[in-house]
């Protein structure tokens, strides 16, 4: 039984990494959104499972937030933003998808390598889960910097957040998880609103189309 419990948790964590790779793989806007919804779904499942095995009911809240906000509301909102702002349907990537995937694999390897020396008594599945969540975080960052497109960058950021929540929930009995996840959801929501308010069409670093390049501090 115990073995099985751990394996399921393990499965969810691994699945999350897999979905992150799927995110990296996407080059179409709506496909990206759907994949992200899946990402959020996996997270919420894993959180719920953790809530169950740790008998920590407050984690169900986190799971719920993950499900509702990130698996449903935000994808929908982003969908509408894309339509409304007429953002290109394709995603401009830095370097080909291939290199990105390779880099991603390297990152996963790195995170496992980093986690190796951690002694076991930190928690039996802590090491693996940490390795996975670290990979998710790194992949999210990779996504943020390898996409020239606001929405996909937001999604990258949110996948980072998912990785964090995974880690937080895997850390057995960690207090304040709910508060933290709430705070984080606010952050994400603000970012999404920001995109909408500031009319960010393509990239983070242009607030307005005709503001391109002009207001970036001083070009000496």
């Amino acid at each position: 039984m115990d073995r099985f419990v751990l394996d399921v948790a393990h499965l969810f964590a691994g699945g999350l990494v897999l979905v992150s790779f799927l995110l990296l793989y996407q080059d179409r806007m709506f496909g990206l959104l759907n994949t992200f919804a899946l990402h959020a779904l996996v997270v919420s499942l894993s959180v719920a499972w953790q809530a169950y095995i740790q008998a920590a009911p407050h984690l169900y809240i986190t799971a719920a937030i993950a499900l509702i906000v990130k698996a449903i509301i935000i994808p929908v909102a982003l969908h509408r933003i894309i339509v409304h702002l007429g953002i290109h349907r394709t995603i401009e990537t830095v370097g080909g998808i291939g290199q990105t995937m390779l880099a991603g694999i390297a990152l996963v390897a790195l995170s496992i390598l980093v986690m190796l020396p951690i002694t076991a008594e930190a928690g039996t599945l802590a090491r693996e889960d940490l390795a996975f969540s670290l990979s998710v975080i790194l992949l999210g960052l990779l996504m943020m910097i390898s996409r020239r497109n606001a929405v996909s960058q937001v999604i990258g950021f949110m996948s980072i957040e998912n990785g964090l929540i995974l880690a937080a929930t895997a850390a057995k009995g960690m207090p304040l998880v709910v508060e933290i996840s709430v705070a984080f959801s606010i952050l994400v929501a603000l970012i999404v609103i920001g995109i909408f308010l500031f009319r960010i069409r393509e990239r983070f670093d242009t607030v307005d189309v005709h503001a391109l390049e002009r207001f970036r501090g001083e070009r000496a």
């Binding site: 930190a122 880690a167 207090p175 603000l190 501090g217 001083e218």
Partner: protein
């Protein structure tokens, strides 16, 4: 005694919240400005009480040698800045750069920021501190963007994104710390409480701690503005309202660095963990040198002093990285002095930019002739910030360099080089700003000079005489920092 201390600590948190609420409600700007000052004043007075009575550490709040000075410093600068902000905002309203609506928002946000920073300093809980820092980030983001010019919005946006990523990294580090503590302390709040962490750190899993520290250093380091994580800082300083620049440079950077310090204590309490020194030293050195050279090509006065803040955060990080009683002591001093001096500089710069109607240094000349008080205030501030005696910053830099040179000559030389290059840049600009024939508008400024000179006087006095109590606290902290 304890109960009194606890009430004081709570007051420091509650007063800003209440005044934030009030300020959000009241429309009249004259009145709100006063309320703002009153609120910060009360907070400051409450915090001074902590010098004399300290509460026992509770699971969420703690007052110890480490944070007492910074709490008082924060509330003090918060108070002086609110005074400065009063006259600053009045001018902005006259020239219609701010509407009353935004003003209400501004004041409310100001108090929220104060609350967030006080919370971050007072928090005895790693997660709570993280939440507080995030809150501070959000509020400052909103205030940086308050002028709604494209430049301001972009600065805010840049700050927002980079800040959020940093926050995310910091959170992961926090989780790791909890994991490391859990196996020793057991689950629950204790595993996130500072006082517990520091005392029990010796038994933690070093590998986890190392990993945690990397993330914390990068996460909070982004907020500190260390190169290469600094990108948000100059624009946020340049485009936001000057009081916010003052608070950012003077306080928020300190708060973030304070968080790093807390974790460094945990690290140094654990024999197995890797010494955080080299990481911090290299980050600090990079920041100093980078900022020093960046100073030369600046045209915007506020952005220039923002870079100088990066430089000084670098110096402090370098000092803590070097470690040892002298360097740590000096680092703590330098944090204090820098926040006082830099906010004073921003006070004068704010008024200068207002009377001259520009932030472009090319259009600001001969201030000591056209606006003697402002001009000499700026001269005094710059002379202080570049570390010329007899001001406190000279003392801290003296201690840092001398104590380093005997151990790591190369590092000390690099640091000295950075200091010299930065000094060259700042003095070069100062020449243009303060001396020569005046240029541009000669309009008198209805400025409140008290805050500026109060800060400078404090730094000056501190350079000559330090109160023993402060010394003993800092020495104790320096010992803890290892």
């Amino acid at each position: 005694m304890n109960s009194l201390g606890l009430t004081l600590a709570r007051a420091i948190l509650v007063i800003p919240v209440i005044s934030a609420g009030l300020l959000a409600l009241f429309p009249d700007d004259r009145f709100t400005a006063r309320v703002n000052v009153l609120g910060t004043l009360l907070t400051f007075l409450a915090s001074t009480g902590l010098f004399f009575v300290r509460p026992e550490p509770s699971p969420f709040l703690i007052v110890d040698d480490v944070n007492v000075v910074f709490i008082v410093l924060t509330t003090f600068v918060g108070f002086t800045t609110s005074v400065f902000s009063g006259s600053y905002i009045a001018h902005e309203l006259e020239h219609g750069r701010l509407t009353p609506v935004y003003l209400r928002f501004y004041h409310a946000m100001y108090q929220t920021l104060m609350f967030a920073m006080n919370l971050a300093l007072l928090a005895n809980n790693v997660g709570l501190m993280w939440v507080a820092v995030e809150l501070a980030t959000l509020t400052t983001v909103l205030m940086v963007g308050i002028y709604r010019t494209p430049a301001a919005l972009e600065a805010a946006w840049k700050y927002f994104i980079l800040g959020s990523v940093g926050i995310a990294l910091a959170l992961f580090g926090t989780i790791l710390v909890y994991l490391a503590a859990r196996s020793v302390v057991g689950e629950g709040l204790d595993a996130m409480a500072w006082n517990v962490l520091v005392t029990r750190a010796a038994a933690f899993d070093p590998a986890l701690l190392n990993l945690a520290f990397v993330f914390l250093l990068l996460g909070y380091g982004t907020k500190v503005g260390l190169a290469p994580l600094h990108a948000w800082l100059p624009d946020a300083h340049a485009e936001g309202p000057t009081p916010i620049s003052a608070v950012l440079s003077g306080l928020l950077l300190n708060v973030a660095l304070f968080a790093v310090l807390r974790f460094k204590m945990v690290m140094s309490a654990n024999p197995g963990a890797l010494a955080p020194g080299p990481l911090m030293v290299s980050l600090g050195l990079v920041s100093v040198l980078f900022a020093a050279f960046m100073l030369y090509r600046r045209h915007d006065i506020k952005r220039m002093f923002a870079y100088s803040s990066i430089e000084h955060m670098g110096i402090v990080t370098f000092a803590f990285g070097m470690g040892g009683p002298l360097a740590n002591f000096a680092g703590l001093l330098h944090m204090t002095y820098h926040s006082l001096t830099k906010s004073a500089i921003f006070f004068s710069v704010g008024h200068i930019a207002q009377v001259k109607g520009t932030q472009a240094m090319a259009d600001i000349r001969g201030l000591t002739v056209s606006h003697p008080v402002l001009g000499w205030g700026l001269v005094l501030g710059v002379i202080t910030i570049v570390g010329l005696p007899p001001t406190g910053i000279f003392m801290s830099e003296f201690l840092i360099i001398t104590s380093t040179f005997a151990r790591q000559p190369a590092l000390a030389l690099a640091l000295a080089l950075g200091l010299l290059v930065a000094l060259g840049a700042l003095l070069l600009r100062l020449n243009g700003l303060a001396f020569g024939n005046p240029y541009g508008s000669e309009a008198r400024s209805k400025a409140s000079f008290a805050p500026m000179f109060a800060h400078l006087a404090l730094v000056l006095a501190a350079g000559i005489y330090l109160p023993p109590a402060l010394v003993s606290w800092f020495q104790h902290v320096a010992k803890l920092l290892g």
